[in-house]
């Protein structure tokens, strides 16, 4: 292990980690928004739109992110739709993550017994009050484990951004291997940085999940 090399290229990895996290989080945030909209459309069974959402979810869940990115980044410009690499990364992640988030939210909503809505209604609440005070708070907390799993999944998926020339962690490692042939050191740094990013989120996720599973409300 060449520590000199490691120290020298540490800053490069730091920069890459920032980019990984930044684009990853942007993708996750948009995925959440997309997911919420899709889940709402499916929950309220909005005509026409619900079919479109259904098709989107199937397409997105049954194709790899790398192929989605290749199509967006290299294919679409041929019909005049051009995107910058970072924008493309965010779009790709949101396209993929949107369906995963939608499923997480939808299963949260569906896990709530209809009797909850009915008792809210029989207490005289209108639709908005019912959603705001009864359904959403419960659905959100039920979705937490799936939600956290999705966040980790999406951050992991950013590793394919290297294929569209985004200087993320994976890219940096690949590049250094190609430039200086220091495979062991480059991979070592790569693993360390992914652990630094993902381990805390994973631990947070399992804490939240345990709380919800064993204690539930009122822990």
């Amino acid at each position: 292990m060449n520590w000199e090399f490691i120290m020298k290229y540490l800053p490069l990895y730091e920069k890459a980690a920032v980019l990984t996290v930044r684009i990853g989080l942007m993708g996750v945030v948009i995925a959440i928004i997309v997911g919420l909209i899709c889940a709402a459309i499916q929950y309220y069974k909005v005509p026409v739109l619900k079919h479109i959402v259904g098709i989107y979810i199937e397409l997105s869940r049954n194709t790899p992110l790398l192929v989605q990115l290749f199509f967006i980044y290299y294919g679409l410009p041929k019909v005049g739709i051009r995107t910058q690499a970072d924008v493309c990364g965010v779009i790709g992640l949101a396209f993929l993550g949107g369906s995963y988030m939608a499923e997480a939210f939808r299963s949260g909503l569906e896990a709530i017994e209809p009797i909850q809505a009915e008792s809210a209604m029989s207490l005289g609440m209108n639709r908005y009050q019912m959603m705001r005070y009864v359904i959403l708070p419960q659905a959100m907390s039920i979705s937490v484990p799936a939600f956290m799993a999705n966040v980790i999944f999406l951050l992991k998926e950013t590793s394919v951004f290297s294929a569209i020339s985004l200087m993320d962690l994976m890219f940096t490692a690949k590049d250094l291997i190609g430039l200086y042939y220091k495979t062991t050191e480059s991979l070592f740094l790569l693993v360390v940085f992914y652990l630094i990013i993902l381990l805390p989120i994973s631990i947070l996720g399992s804490i939240l999940e345990r709380r919800l599973r064993y204690a539930g409300f009122g822990a």
Binding site: E113, A120, S122, L123, M125, Y133, Q138, G216, F217
Partner: protein, 256 residues
Amino acid sequence: MAEELLKIEHLTKKFEDNMILDDVSLTVHRGEVIVVVGPSGCGKSTMLRCINALEPIQGGTIEIDGQQISQKSKNLTELRQKVGMVFQSYELFPHLTVLNNILLAPTKVQKREKEEVKKEAMELLDRVGLKEKADSFPRQLSGGQKQRVAIVRALCMHPEILLFDEVTAALDPEMVREVLDVMLQLAQQGKTMVIVTHEMQFARAIADRVIFLEGGKIVEDADPDTFFDHPQTERAKQFLNVFTFENVKHKTAEEN
């Protein structure tokens, strides 16, 4: 006779093509306690749900306090506040404490003062023996405690009429008793109630009138003594038979 609080006339209700309630008419006066009995699937729950406009109806009218209620009523949420409902399964909001379960609707829907409602809620909780559970969450309560909270929650909205749908069906005998005792109290206070139950002894004790529903039709409508001791129809007799047993032990004893 006291004023007519609930007036159901020629109610029909279908699920797709199945006739669930078939020309049901029923008037409940203020202060009256009506018990509805009948075999499983005869439409008891559906009837209660129609009164609260939780189900769309296909024919007839339902009036509460002189105002017609249906899913299309403009003032539906107001009308629903006149009707308190308690269901079979624990329908407390699991993410709120007992107290917040009770306060939610009075403060958000009726926009009443939080402090005032809180005072009332604590008094009611005290009366059902659950004062010290105010800050517990539903999952920390037993089934019987949950149902008593659900009753308090409904009461705190000051409804004109209370509907109970097999509120003790999922409980152990002692818990059943806790809940039924609360309902007996309410009856003594003169609350208007429509109760669906399978507890025949309780029905006889609490009812002013017993309604026997079968196949979506009201087959009998009588005072409890008449209904339990001299049911008029063959069907009601059969139904009541389910709850009585003939001794078998003597036979076995002889064989021994």
